[in-house]
Symmetry: C2
Subunit: 152 residues, 2 copies
Amino acid sequence: MKVKKATPWDPEAAPTFWINHASRLLMRHFEQRLRPLDFGMAYLPVVGALEEHGPQLQKQLAEHAHVEQPTMAALLTRMERDGLITREPHPGDKRASQISISEKARDRLPQAREQLAEVAAQATAGFSDRERATLLALLRRVVENLDPSIED
Amino acid sequence: MKVKKATPWDPEAAPTFWINHASRLLMRHFEQRLRPLDFGMAYLPVVGALEEHGPQLQKQLAEHAHVEQPTMAALLTRMERDGLITREPHPGDKRASQISISEKARDRLPQAREQLAEVAAQATAGFSDRERATLLALLRRVVENLDPSIED
DNA sequence: GCAATATAGATAGCATGCTATGAAAGTCAA
DNA sequence: TTGACTTTCATAGCATGCTATCTATATTGC
């Protein structure tokens, strides 16, 4: 005979909700620390890419950050408003814009990264190096399992 | 002497970005599968709590789902629009509302859970039971490290 | 009883993200 | 060259989530 309901299906048993919860907590911590710098969490991959590879197209930045094009467009609008990037007409392709990093962004990038590192450290406080590596590896596999694009 | 730049600080090395990326991918898969049911990913913990514990206050639902009160207010508005819950004046406290699950929601909950399970399975495809458990345990620890409320 | 405080929701404003769609400009084949 | 296709971006509309702040109603301590 069946037990009536031991626990009528626990959504908390799936890693999906924990991934989501962790993501939201990370966002909150980040945004709080980055606000004084006029940075947002989403800005970091963009500023990083621009610093490392020089001016780029919106398309390239979207691919780098793994977000859709309209998401990147809105993100760049906010970053422009915050004085972290500039958009100039692309020479040779009137459809496109060249996105460049500003001095302000270049100056503040190290501090933003410092905040990132601190939050990351807090998130994995009490983890051994091995556990950190394991978490990263498992998450990579989750992403591979879900990402429509095979590239990584 | 220093190497010029081995890799000028890689944000992808931190689990934080992978958690975020995985979370977004999960959302996309979910929303796509739940849309035909008039469900959203965020609805599930709410409908689940209402089914299991009966009518509740907004406050209780927010705590259960680990979201802030205004987030739950907006969520309930959408759920009400989609015919999944009803809000009635609370007898005995004129400030509060009683949130109740609708028949439609009760009917569709199993199907929504089925979709959830399938996405979860896809996310951890190729994982051993042990790896699944490890991922869950590490994520729990991340959440504990970041959650201001000690409870869990 | 009543003023001070606490609690339940509502609202405004914003950040991130998505899909769907349109417009402009480049490319290429006939 | 020119019509069809591709590519790059913009816009609209929406879901989730947050903080800050306001209102209305309870509760509590004198």
